[in-house]
């Protein structure tokens, strides 16, 4: 961005004036209005950032970049290693070992946090198949998550379906829906597909909400009409109902997902998907059935959301349509984008950051919890502007996102 010094105060003034009515005036309940100084603070922040930006771009702070290089140099082999497909490595082994003994140190709510983070990692990785590998934007991922959760909850409550069978059912039902949505809409342009899936996600939620006799409507499942409990997983005679079992179950889930994704990424199918994403015409010329590949990615991704949904329903024991709002879809998408589309490790990192940090804010600093989604939104914009490839970039993806299209 080209900025000149004289413009910075203008920008600050612009933001102060612009934000004045919304931020500077607050309507009170007794119909009076209160004026606040916040717009001046916003203007001040803009002034500060602008001046900082100008200063930094004029003066050569070589010592800072040198210092960064100094820090980055020893880290380089580590980050380089992370970006590579994980062969059996000492770091990975240690990480797994740490995660395996982690429950011994966690208690109560932290255990819960760890499990939920795991479920979100699975979801983000599942979305990554379709967004990262195939390059198709899906905005209704929570819809597939909801289908998996409801499929298992209904099967469990109505027919006493056990968890492991439910896992298959949830995944399968979700995959079928993925197929049904994907088949007609994959002919469309990228942004139209995004909107169709957004519509689908909302549609699913409204349907669950409006069928009180079948899905419990807004009350969710189970309720007074549909009694019982959503079964916990069992192994032989043991019922895995304690959080610690869920921790290990989720852990296995994440590991399986990572392995499948890595295998997929480096398989014929994965390469075909990437080829279709990069240049569909060229890929078709090479004999790749692009439509089939896209549907495959879509179905696989939907199935993964279904699995995560089953796990979530079993763990939490109570589901409502409000748990699967657009907010959820946006959050999962933000995880994929922050971490780096197409990069398994990046997506895991993105999920961990975007789940744990807001959780800590909610837990420790409740005053700031309203800022949570504000920060998600800003993160998505800033990532697209300044680092579209994400925190840890997949090398192949990076090339695509940074090239400029001739229009």
């Amino acid at each position: 961005m080209k900025l000149s010094f004289s413009k910075v105060p203008m920008y600050a003034l612009w933001f102060t004036v612009l934000t004045f009515p919304l931020v500077g005036i607050r309507m009170m309940d007794d119909k009076t209005v209160q004026f606040r100084l916040s717009p001046l603070i916003i203007g001040g922040v803009v002034l500060f950032i602008g001046a900082l930006y100008m200063g930094l771009s004029r003066v050569k702070f070589t010592f800072i970049s040198d210092a960064f290089k100094g820090i980055a140099a020893p880290l380089k082999p580590v980050t380089a290693g992370l970006a590579k497909p994980p062969a059996i490595k000492i770091e990975l082994f240690l990480l797994c070992l740490f995660l395996l003994i982690l429950p011994a140190m966690l208690s109560g709510k932290y255990m819960n946090l760890a499990i939920d983070t795991g479920i979100y990692i699975v979801l983000a990785l599942g979305l990554n198949i379709v967004v990262g590998l195939a390059g198709l934007l899906v905005l209704g991922y929570a819809g597939f998550f909801a289908i998996g959760a409801y499929a298992y909850a209904l099967a469990s409550l109505n027919f006493g379906c056990p968890f492991w069978l439910g896992l298959l059912i949830g995944g399968a039902v979700s995959a079928v829906f993925g197929f049904l949505v994907g088949l007609p809409s994959l002919r469309l342009r990228g942004d139209y597909l995004a909107i169709v899936t957004l519509g689908f996600g909302e549609l699913i939620r409204y349907i669950f909400k409006n069928l009180p006799n079948i899905t419990g409507g807004e009350k969710g499942l189970p309720n007074e009409l549909i009694r019982g409990e959503i079964h916990h997983p069992t192994i032989g005679p043991w019922v895995l109902s304690q959080p610690i079992y869920y921790y290990y179950l989720t852990f296995i889930f994440v590991v399986v997902t990572v392995v499948v994704l890595e295998r997929l990424n480096n398989s014929r199918i994965g390469r075909a998907l990437i080829a279709v994403r990069e240049d569909e015409l060229a890929a078709r010329t090479m004999g790749i059935n692009a439509t089939k590949m896209k549907i495959l990615a879509f179905v696989l991704s939907a199935a993964w959301a279904g699995f995560a949904g089953v796990l979530y329903a079993a763990k939490i024991g109570y589901i409502t349509p409000e748990g699967f709002r657009f907010e959820q879809s946006a959050l999962i998408l933000a995880m994929v984008i922050l971490g780096g589309m197409g990069s398994t490790l990046g997506v895991i990192l993105g999920a961990v950051i975007l789940y744990i940090i807001p959780w800590i804010i909610r837990d420790q600093l409740p005053a700031f919890q309203d800022y949570r989604l504000l920060i998600y939104g800003a993160t998505m914009v800033l990532m697209m502007l300044f680092r579209p490839q994400g925190l840890i970039s997949s090398k192949r993806r990076k090339i695509e996102l940074t090239e400029t299209e001739e229009k």
């Binding site: 009515p21 119909k31 934007l137 409000e322 998505m380 229009k407």
Partner: protein, 321 residues
């Protein structure tokens, strides 16, 4: 996000169809106003401005805040000149919303103009989330009421047609929508600036070669679209007496549906699509079920995108990915 009862009053008991048609026209007119913003931006940039619904929401807030300030300054204003107050509110809402629209374009979209569609779309979604929560943080989570005093004169005066009555407010909304759309049509088809906008939509590079400042035209597009959304926002908040920080999402999707239905990128199409969607939605509520009132738009959206992505009036072929 619990969506407030939005836009459509579900009075099912009356067998008369006329009130429903009026409701449908009002909803449709508002959808059309907002759809114009989507369609103009899509026509020029080829991207879905996801944050447009949020600009509408900001418009509803700005109108209500202005009226609240006017009430606080001098209660006499309301009694003396309510129409002038409303005009001031409209002016403030339109000007500031246009400012927001232009700022969003400058910050979140301009740098991504040559980036892949996906990047711009994600940025737009992020901006939408950001704006929604920005308003929530600034103004709180509760519903904000439209000052009732300004409405009363409009609502009390009714015109009776047989058993049904139309309030002055309803007539006012329908007429302003028509007037605004007609004005926009004239602007686009007759003025120099409108011509420049059409040229930019057709071919940006060529337009810049004949001396059109592309950045300026795009800013103006955002300013006009946002202004229209804010005007719609003020009317809706007056009609429904309330607003909330999350009203933009649903109405944004519906307006987008209207734009797609009419043929995205096509201005008369957006008007047609808006009216059609409003009518279909209202008739769906009357004849099928009010439980699914939010669903009709999504169903139409999905069907249109799958069966005829060019929309009713669109010539632009939705090319493959």
């Amino acid at each position: 996000m619990t969506q407030p009862d939005y836009l459509i009053a579900t009075t099912l008991n009356t067998p008369v169809i006329l009130p429903h048609i009026i409701n449908g026209l009002i909803a449709g007119g508002i959808y059309a106003l907002i759809a114009l913003g989507y369609t103009m931006v899509y026509g020029i940039l080829g991207m879905i401005n996801f944050a447009h619904g949020e600009i509408y929401m900001i418009g509803t807030y700005l109108g209500i805040i202005t009226l609240a300030v006017l009430t606080a300054i001098g209660p006499g204003f309301i009694v003396g000149m309510p129409i002038l107050c409303l005009l001031v509110a409209l002016f403030v809402a339109v000007i500031f919303s246009a400012g927001y629209g232009a700022t969003v374009e400058r910050l979140a979209y301009r740098r991504l103009r040559h980036a892949p569609v996906l990047a711009a779309l994600i940025s737009a979604i992020g901006m939408s989330t950001f704006l929604q929560n920005y308003v929530m943080v600034a103004q709180g989570k509760d519903n904000k009421a439209f000052p009732a005093q300004f409405k009363t004169i409009f609502v009390q005066n009714k015109i009776h047609i047989g058993d049904t009555s139309i309030s002055l407010l309803e007539i006012f909304i329908i007429f302003s929508c028509v007037a605004i759309m007609f004005g926009l049509h004239l602007f686009i088809s007759k003025t120099r600036l409108g011509k420049a906008m059409r040229a930019t939509a057709q071919d940006k590079k060529m337009a810049s070669l004949v001396g059109i400042n592309i950045d300026r035209i795009i800013s103006i597009t955002f300013i006009i679209g946002s202004g229209l959304a804010a005007a719609g926002g003020l009317m809706v908040s007056m009609y429904l007496s309330t607003t909330r920080f999350d009203v933009g999402y649903l109405i944004g999707i519906k307006a987008f549906t209207a734009a797609v239905l009419g043929g995205i990128g096509n201005i008369p199409g957006a008007m047609l699509g808006g009216l059609l969607l409003g009518m279909v939605e209202t008739l769906g509520i009357v004849f099928i079920s009010p439980d699914y009132k939010e669903v009709y738009a999504f169903v139409i959206l999905i069907i249109v995108l799958i069966v005829r992505p060019t929309g009713l009036l669109g010539e632009r072929v939705a090319d493959k990915a």
